[in-house]
Subunit: 243 residues, 2 copies
């Protein structure tokens, strides 16, 4: 292993995104390409809800292990983004507008009763990673946000164009995210470029981003196996009312 | 054990404060009564710094295990209070103005090199309690704030009257705390009154407050033993320059 310059490290991170980000997953192509049934879109939104709901828990876990007030303060904005300033605001509430708009019962969604085990395990692996790895790795694992503005753009345009059951209002979650994600990704990228000072630390940073790409990827895998090519959907999972 | 009404539970909590809160500790009487040397006041501020510095980590740990967005949002205000909105703001920064004003080197304070082991263990026990006990117990352990406005009032008046090396500016931390503590304590008290629904849960809530009173008490014990009646101050701890 040789020490990369900060810019080489950034290039290596972006290369991971180009090769492993879930934008390349076949479920994403079906979703934004208008090839999903309404039930499949519902299953996606319902499962992704758990990821959204756990994000502030993940972020507070990171703050909880961070000894630097300036970093905690910066990271706190993520809590604000997801939990909002009051009831009905923030990313989780906006995600529930999406599940509402798709005709899912809100209590059913938030109960997690219909969640796929594969979603649960992937999301919980992410929270545990952030709690247990070094702060540098925890911060690096957020770097999938470098790539999210593009996927969000594709998702919004594709879903609005292709599904008559999806409205701009329903997708309000995605309106807010790109500038938040850019701000957060800029901070995290700058942090890892300045703080990964040895080849070992740089390898940890790269591995953290690969891990996180795997989390997002396996969430779409779980959906694909259960709802697109349902060889054996897990008992108890959400059942679509597609014909 | 019998089930208490919410008001009986509140009375029992207040009774714990009346009997166990560190306002009753002899070090508090010395501090606000003008009986401490400057070195002892410095030792108090230096050791208490670690408690202040760990509070947002404790609070983020609580947020990190909380599944209710509304509670997370409410609890987030504590992060704002302690870490502020920008560099130089918030409770930790105001505590460092106190240690500055007392003539302590800021790097030495924040390095924790002079910290008493007793302070470290008490503060870390608090963080671990919040991470590991039930959410109800974690919230209940914050209830010492019910009693803090009185002790802060005594401390400010007594320290300003009795020490020529203490100014109003130096004590700016304490100006801000009482309304924050009241708001936070009101929320936490209401939460435990509504959520401790069985005799077992009520016993847990009472025990959590007793535990927390023990944390604050043992921090003053450590100071008392090392700096007032220094039978054996731990090696490496802050050494006063008192004559």
């Amino acid at each position: 292993m040789k020490l990369l310059s900060p810019d080489e490290l950034e290039a290596a991170l972006r290369d991971i995104g180009a090769k492993r980000y879930h934008r390349l997953h076949p479920f994403h192509a079906l979703l934004h390409g208008g090839k999903c049934t309404k039930g499949q879109v519902q299953a996606w939104a319902l499962n992704r809800y758990y990821y959204q709901a756990m994000i502030p828990i993940k972020d507070a876990s990171l703050i909880a292990r961070c000894e630097d007030s300036a970093i905690r303060r910066e990271w706190r904005s993520r809590l604000v983004d997801h939990d909002g300033e009051r009831e009905g605001e923030g990313g989780i509430a906006r995600w529930l507008k999406l599940t509402d708009g798709l005709g899912l019962d809100r209590d059913y969604v938030t109960s997690l009763r219909g969640l796929l085990p594969g979603t649960r395990f992937a999301v919980e692996a992410y929270v545990h990673f952030v709690r247990e790895k070094t702060l540098l790795e925890a911060i690096a694992s957020s770097l999938t946000e470098l790539f999210s503005p593009v996927i969000i753009g594709e998702r919004m345009a594709g879903m609005l164009a292709n599904y008559d059951f999806v409205t701009r209002e329903t997708l309000s979650y995605f309106d807010k995210r790109p500038p938040q994600a850019e701000r957060d990704a800029d901070f995290a990228l700058d942090y890892v470029k300045r703080n990964a000072k040895t080849p070992e630390q740089q390898a940890q940073v790269l591995a953290a981003l690969e891990f996180k790409c795997g989390v997002l990827w396996s969430m779409l895998d779980a959906l694909y196996h259960a709802y697109v090519d349902p060889k054996l959907a897990p008992p108890g999972a959400f059942v679509t009312s597609d014909p």
